[in-house]
């Protein structure tokens, strides 16, 4: 690599630094100025053409609560609203509706939850546990790509 190229590279690094700063500033701005729509998703009142695929984001259990032996698993969805509405006809509703299934420690059958609230598991035995969460459509069919597994350990008392 010739010296010119090396200098050029240093120039790049400076530019990258500046651009990173701008990116960070933009991120901060975006976080501060997020509209209700940014955070809550589209209003349910207006149908969405070609709505993007549903997405499930699951957080690890809340650490302070896990230390007390309680698993509080928060989640959020994109492009799917959690509601107690079921059946074939509901598949055509837009914006999309569905609900949550979850399975504790490899159980074969899902627990169906239509509340949209944090999954709360209290009283699990100390030791490792696995909870699988998945989004399901209004006919209880799991939605591919919208499933997450959370592994955690309940401490000894």
């Amino acid at each position: 690599m010739n010296p010119f190229a090396r200098m050029n590279q240093r120039g790049h690094i400076k530019r990258i630094g500046a651009l990173s700063a701008i990116a960070v500033a933009l991120f901060a701005l975006a976080a501060a100025a997020q509209t209700a729509k940014d955070v809550k998703g589209a209003t349910p009142l207006v149908a969405i053409q070609n709505e993007a695929a549903p997405r499930l984001v699951v957080d690890p259990p809340v650490p302070e609560q896990l230390a007390l032996g309680r698993a509080f698993i928060q989640y959020r969805t994109e492009n799917l609203r959690i509601l107690p509405v079921f059946g074939n006809a509901a598949l055509s509703v837009s914006p999309r509706i569905g609900h949550l299934h979850y399975y504790v420690d490899g159980q074969s059958w899902p627990i169906v939850d239509t509340s949209g609230e944090t999954v709360v598991l209290v009283g699990l035995k100390p030791g490792p546990h696995t909870v699988k969460l998945e989004l399901a459509d209004a006919t209880h069919k799991p939605i591919s790509g919208a499933s997450q597994v959370v592994e955690f350990s309940i401490p000894q008392k």
């Binding site: 990258i16 209700a36 955070v39 207006v46 928060q74």
Partner: protein, 281 residues
């Protein structure tokens, strides 16, 4: 070499721009907690002040005279939980009060769903959303101002009144008619100037699910429209909670509650006539 360098630089720039876009994108890599706030089951010490962010009405519905106002809160879960004891609940719970065009009265909404108004007269309007504690003390507020265009007419909107009532969609052939049963206002609350109307529905689940496709859902889904004192406009409520109105002037009033299907066509209705007593201060 120069070409390579430019490509290299372009790739770096592209990567940075993409990274910036991803970070700024709605909900990009944000955890559930970042977006939804602390879980309701997890008490928080020294929770920061509750705040509300109100979006302008959605443009396309507004062009049809339909006002849809989305909002979000921070450090406060919207929940239909009321009273002084609930002030101590952590994380904080509360609700919104909504008022239109500087009216003396508000309605309370603990559903967390967007505020939906239809039938406002053409011209400028203002809607105020007040973020309230569970005991109705204001924490924050956000107002939106907008103009209903002239060329909207109830018939051109999703206005229920323009269409025949069709409570029974084809798929509901065997499902009994939907009904709304509204109880008389609670006298002890009315004496304090608060209109508290409990209702229940039969053969219809109140949920925020809308549109023609939802007409085929069985069991039937829908929501209510509420009109006060023969106003041209109503608000929609899909929360299923009691209708709560506060601040109406002393004297006689009437509240019309329509049960509507997911496509806003009326199925059943009830009108409550009541008198707000003179305030004894």
């Amino acid at each position: 070499m120069q070409v390579h360098s430019n490509q290299h630089r372009f790739a770096q720039l592209a990567a940075l721009v993409m990274a910036a876009c991803l970070m700024a994108a709605p909900g990009g890599a944000q955890t559930a907690r970042q977006v939804r706030g602390a879980a309701a089951v997890e008490p928080i010490a020294n929770e920061p002040a509750g705040m509300i962010v109100v979006d302008p009405p959605l443009a396309e519905p507004l062009s049809r005279g339909l006002v849809v106002i989305q909002y979000r809160t921070e450090n406060l879960h919207i929940a239909p939980v009321f009273g002084p004891a609930a002030l101590a609940v952590s994380p904080r719970v509360g609700h919104i009060h909504v008022s239109v065009d500087d009216a003396s009265w508000v309605w309370a909404d603990g559903s967390g769903e967007p505020v939906i108004l239809n039938g406002l007269a053409p011209g400028p309007h203002k809607v105020l959303l007040q973020l309230e504690t569970a005991n109705h003390q204001e924490l924050d507020r956000g107002a939106v101002q907008f103009t209903i265009p002239n060329d909207t007419h109830p018939a051109a909107t999703h206005g229920a009144e323009s269409r025949p009532a069709s409570g029974t969609a084809p798929s509901h052939a065997t499902e009994p008619h939907a009904k709304i049963i509204i109880e008389a206002p609670r006298p002890e609350r009315l004496a304090r100037g608060v209109v508290f109307l409990e209702y229940r529905t039969q053969n219809l689940q109140v949920v925020p699910v809308y549109g023609p496709a939802a007409l085929a859902v069985s069991p039937r889904v829908g929501h209510i429209h509420v009109t006060v004192d023969d106003a041209t406009w109503h608000w929609a409520d899909a929360g299923g909670n009691p209708v709560i109105i506060n601040g109406l002037l002393p004297g006689p009033h009437k509240v019309l509650i329509q049960l509507v299907n997911a496509d806003h066509q009326p199925i059943d209705e009830g009108t409550v006539r009541l008198t707000i007593p003179q305030r004894s201060r």
